[in-house]
Symmetry: C2
């Protein structure tokens, strides 16, 4: 397969993903996307004839996939799920801390998910699919590490909730501290014996 050299389309999607994470769906206007991406005027409706909803759904799908890949890579860095997850959370604490406003963590589609859950079925589904793929990455690692299918299902859902919730608190408090606190406590949540 020859890799697509369709850079205007890629730039549009990348810029959209960044703006969605930073400021959400409603504040992100098509003019800003075109301007920030440097894509030629007119290219937006050429590649995304259905407009903002189509462009943003594809941007969410693309972000979601990139995050799922990063989660899988992170989880592959240690054989045991617990150790891999603790390291991942410590990495997020540093990353979020560096970004200052807790943004740029690159893993949050939460703003779009919240804004559009009751207004756009297309965007709601794109967000749901992204969360499912993140959950699958955690679930597989947990099952490979000896957790039962049922518990791996529950824990993976909770880990995704935790990451999204902790990003909110990190951005609000402008600090990586919430991720560090989470890394300290996660061994309890993932304990294999009954609590």
């Amino acid at each position: 397969m020859v890799k697509s050299s369709n850079t205007s389309r890629d730039r549009l999607l990348e810029t959209t993903a960044q703006l969605l994470e930073l400021q959400g769906y409603h504040a992100t206007g098509l003019n800003q996307i075109t301007k920030d991406s440097g894509a030629p005027k007119g290219s937006l409706y050429y590649y995304f004839p259905e407009g903002k909803e189509e462009l943003c759904s594809e941007a969410v799908a693309r972000s979601g996939q990139a995050v799922a890949e990063r989660i899988r890579f992170g989880l592959s860095q240690a054989p045991e799920p617990l150790e891999a997850i603790v390291r991942m959370l410590q990495g997020m604490a540093e990353h979020v801390g560096e970004a200052g406003d807790g943004c740029g963590s690159g893993v949050s589609i939460a703003a779009v998910a919240l804004e559009t859950a009751s207004s756009s079925e297309r965007l709601r589904e794109a967000c749901a699919k992204a969360y499912d793929s993140w959950q699958a990455a955690f679930r597989e690692k947990l099952m490979a590490g000896g957790y039962s299918a049922e518990r791996a299902e529950r824990l993976s859902l909770i880990l995704v909730s935790l990451i999204e919730g902790t990003i909110i608190l990190s951005r609000t408090s402008r600090s990586g501290e919430p991720f560090r606190q989470l890394a300290e406590e996660i061994p309890h949540l993932l304990a294999k014996k009954e609590g």
Copy 2:
């Protein structure tokens, strides 16, 4: 003290709080607030001369306080923190499930927090203060239940992250299931022995 009978102001704040939870900050316009609240035209700038940012900050403060009170009430329903928290999460699963789109849970300022963290210091601070007050409610219950101050601090932060993150996944999946799964696993997180 005579209770304020300032009902237009109250209606404006209540409508704003509902709209912020449902659709976020940017999609919520002053015209819609005035119309939905039934408050007389002109009353918005009379009570909130600084406009949308002032009105929304006060609405977030008010929602935040109401949620903190509900958390305290919920936690008072069982002597042990674990039992009280499990019951609270089960209640949220039902509430979110009933609402259909996972909205109306009344506890999420997450959309506003995410949209405004990097654009409005005033709103960011209002959200941070609300989260602090929710965290304080959990922390006090945990400490009264025998958890160390340090662990109660960490766990209470994580519980607030979990609630916000689980609301996102509930709204996205249109289901109370994420809260039910969380209720099943929370005994692990709150285990008093080292994991």
